[in-house]
């Protein structure tokens, strides 16, 4: 498929070749079959990337990165995903790392950044709460200053990979009196602190990605506050701005679309490959049109950023179409899986069945991804919220 950024196509091919040459085969196989990599798998891969200077390439050089432009970073991340590398967990390198670089004290930088770069400390993000999903103004988790510590009480929800995490960065309420946004602060907590309890949440795909995290008189040293009290909103907006450019996962979409094609070529319908069947092919072409349209749209926006434009509502548009695209592609994958009875592996079959347990397949991998992607139009501000945002920002409604 053609790629819309000719000036970066050589770098893109470098990245793809690097992944092909260096991604451990067992990890590649997990990605192909949509089996969750272990934490140690991720660490292994991050360390390989780091050895090549690519793990935190978007960090400034003074902080240990390569100082990539947003455009280059976009191409890197999409090419990685396209080539079948596991997604880098963003919480350390993409989220809290840049925040610490921008707002952290020297002590914080020395304490936290090295362990992000060398993949020895795993982070998670504590934003959402039961009554603050798409609407962060409703944050309730309290952090009360008591001497050298803040004491945290409350609950976070949808906390991805809390069960792997050593550290968590949190938005907490440090004041009840200010207007809702002003009383929010940004703080870092050790996940092993007494009083933190994790409850797994199993999602549609029957996997354990997210959790509820409960805070019961959890003591966090005051030096873990980033910025000042009340800076939480400002820091959250900074973090959001650095993240806006990668909301459309076109690289992953490329990989999944290509997998759909492979699977459909290997699935027979009336003795002929499903990929040759006209209704299926039409839907495939339609997904390809959507993908290339999104890539053209993103390329146009990123070229604007390269010329100094600040993205506003355009990021919401990317989010809307990006999530719709992943849903379309995986829905197509689910059509192939439907020919195999919607078998969902690798969910184990209990003992006592009257036959042999089947192996996971690429079709069931796509089915599982379809289930997972139902959340794509919900998390990070649902698509309905994104429409609200654009309506206000672009038209002043």
């Amino acid at each position: 498929m053609d790629y819309p950024l000719p000036e970066l196509s050589a770098f893109r091919l470098d990245v793809i070749r690097f992944v092909e040459a260096n991604l451990p085969a067992d990890i590649a196989e997990k990605v192909r079959l949509n089996i969750e990599p272990e934490k140690s798998d991720l660490y292994r891969w991050e360390q390989i990337l780091n050895g090549h200077g690519w793990f935190c390439g978007h960090w400034p050089v003074h902080a240990g990165g390569a100082g990539w432009s947003p455009l280059k970073r976009y191409v890197f991340e999409q090419a990685m995903a396209e080539a079948g590398a596991p997604p880098l967990q963003p919480f350390g390198q993409a989220y809290v790392g840049p925040v610490i670089i921008e707002y952290g004290t020297d002590a914080q930088k020395q304490r936290f950044l090295p362990k992000i770069i060398d993949s020895t400390e795993f982070w998670c993000q504590g934003y959402s709460e039961p009554s603050a999903g798409s609407d962060l103004a409703g944050l309730k988790l309290r952090a009360e200053r008591k001497g050298d510590h803040y004491v945290l009480n409350g609950q976070k929800l949808w906390t991805s990979y809390a069960h792997w995490a050593d550290m968590i960065f949190l938005l907490v309420r440090t004041s009840q009196e200010d207007r809702p946004q002003k009383g929010v602060s940004f703080i870092l907590a050790d996940m092993h602190t007494p009083g933190i309890t994790i409850r797994p949440i199993i999602t549609l795909d029957m996997k354990h990605h997210v959790n509820e995290v409960f805070f019961d008189n959890v003591e966090v040293p005051v030096e873990n506050l980033v910025g000042d009290e009340g800076d939480g909103w400002k820091i959250a907006k900074f973090l959001l701005a650095t993240e806006r450019l990668i909301v459309a996962e076109t690289g992953k979409a490329r990989r999944l679309l290509s997998q759909v094609r492979t699977v459909a070529e290997n699935t027979l319908e009336a003795g002929k490959p499903l990929f040759e069947q006209s209704a299926f092919r039409r839907a495939f072409t339609e997904a390809e049109v959507q993908l290339q349209t999104l890539e053209a749209f993103c390329a146009r926006q990123l070229k604007g950023v390269a010329q100094g434009k600040v993205l506003g509502f355009e990021a919401s548009l990317m989010k809307i179409r990006g999530s719709e695209l992943l849903q379309s592609i995986t829905e197509l994958g689910s059509r192939v899986a439907a020919r195999k009875g919607l078998a969902l592996s690798p969910e184990p079959l209990p003992e006592g069945s009257n036959g042999e347990q089947a192996e996971p397949t690429e079709a069931s991998a796509l089915l599982s991804e379809y289930l997972f992607q139902r959340a794509a139009t919900i998390y990070g501000g649902s698509n309905e919220i994104q429409h609200n945002i654009v309506s206000k920002a672009r038209f002043g409604f």
Partner: protein, 368 residues
């Protein structure tokens, strides 16, 4: 108005009965079903389903059933969908039992009684791995003295892990399609069991000269199998209708209670319109389901193709939007929403998906 009002008051009564049973008896047992059992359903509840008479609805009274047709069974299936019942009501009551009843052979009749009573569970293994949703088969039946031996590959067989008997279609030496009974534990039978997305089971099976008993007579039963699969496709539409109606109700209730930005969600016009679209998709499904019941042969096959085409897309839409409108909790396994979502995926694709039935609808178009 329900789907069976006008066609038959027996059907309406049966539907009411089934809905009540699902609501009262089944709901408490619900969490025990499906995923927790190796069979993909609870054997105790399966026996209770038989005791309720759900498996003999489409079997003539003379053969131990209650002599109903698609209208009656559709009411049962709507209840099955409303409660996302995991037990093999469709596989046995909607497929295996009525198929056996129509074979009119002593072998079939003898086995039929056990099925209806819930003493045995049999599933039809018809689809083949190289043929997808296409209904033609290549599995062959070889006469070996008094025995028959079957060889071939079957796929996409719902509920197989909980079945003690396989009903397998195959072509004899003259190219005539017949129905054969096979013991899943017999030599030459290899099963691969998969858990389906909704916690039931499906399987592919390889038959290598497996010993079989012929249940059909000497006639070619291709047309009968075709009608049976059409009926099955129709019955999952009725099942989908039950699940969709549940989701519309539950989602509307959720919108009335969940608050965001200081208001309950039902105050947001976009969500109001969305649930109206869900209602519309559901009511259209009710319309095309009823149209199948009204349609007589030879028009019924095309009415079913229309019905499954429309139901497949409606089911997908309603399921997806129910999850979307529930937001984060909609994608958790804890909330029932996700289970209805998955059951509707099954309804959407079992016995052929939207593409398959659109092509069939097109192929069955009468000349201009």
């Amino acid at each position: 108005m329900d789907i069976t009002d006008e066609t038959s008051s027996d059907a309406a009564l049966l539907r009411e009965h089934a809905l009540r049973w699902v609501e009262q008896a089944y709901d408490d047992l619900h969490e025990l079903s499906g995923r927790a059992h190796p069979q993909g359903f609870d054997p105790d509840i399966a026996r209770e389903v038989a005791a309720q008479g759900f498996l003999g609805v489409m079997v003539p009274e003379a053969k131990g059933g209650t002599g109903g047709g698609l209208a009656e069974m559709a009411g049962i299936m709507e209840a099955v969908g409303r409660g996302i019942v995991a037990e093999p009501v469709l596989s046995v009551g909607g497929i295996a039992a009525p198929l056996l009843a129509r074979l009119e052979t002593p072998e079939a009749d003898a086995f039929l009684a056990q099925l209806v009573a819930g003493e045995s569970t049999a599933v039809l293994a018809h689809y083949e791995s190289a043929r997808g949703f296409d209904r033609s088969v290549t599995t062959g039946a070889r006469q070996d003295g008094a025995d028959v031996r079957l060889s071939g590959e079957k796929a996409n067989t719902l509920d197989l892990a909980g079945a003690d008997t396989l009903l397998v279609t195959g072509l004899d030496a003259n190219g005539r399609l017949g129905l054969y009974r096979i013991d899943p534990a017999a030599e030459g039978v290899t099963l691969k069991i998969y858990r389906t997305v909704d916690g039931r089971t499906t399987a592919s099976l390889t038959l290598a000269d497996a010993s079989a008993e012929r249940l059909s007579g000497s006639d070619d039963i291709a047309a009968l199998v075709d009608e049976t699969l059409d009926a099955a496709a129709f019955l999952v539409c009725a099942e989908a209708l039950g699940a969709m109606r549940y989701l519309v109700d539950v989602t509307a209730d959720y919108l009335k209670t969940r608050k965001q930005f200081g208001q309950t969600l039902d105050r947001f016009q976009v969500l109001q319109h969305r649930i109206v679209s869900m209602l519309l998709a559901t009511e259209e499904t009710a319309g095309v389901v009823e149209a199948v019941i009204d349609a007589k042969q030879p028009r019924r096959a095309r009415a079913i193709a229309l019905c499954k085409t429309v139901t497949a897309r409606s089911a997908r839409y309603v399921a997806q939007q129910s999850v979307q409108l529930h937001g984060g909790i909609g994608v958790t396994d804890e909330l029932k929403i996700s289970r209805y979502f998955k059951r509707l995926m099954m309804c959407e694709s079992l016995f052929g998906d939207e593409d398959y039935y659109t092509a069939r609808y097109e192929a069955l178009r009468p000349p201009a």
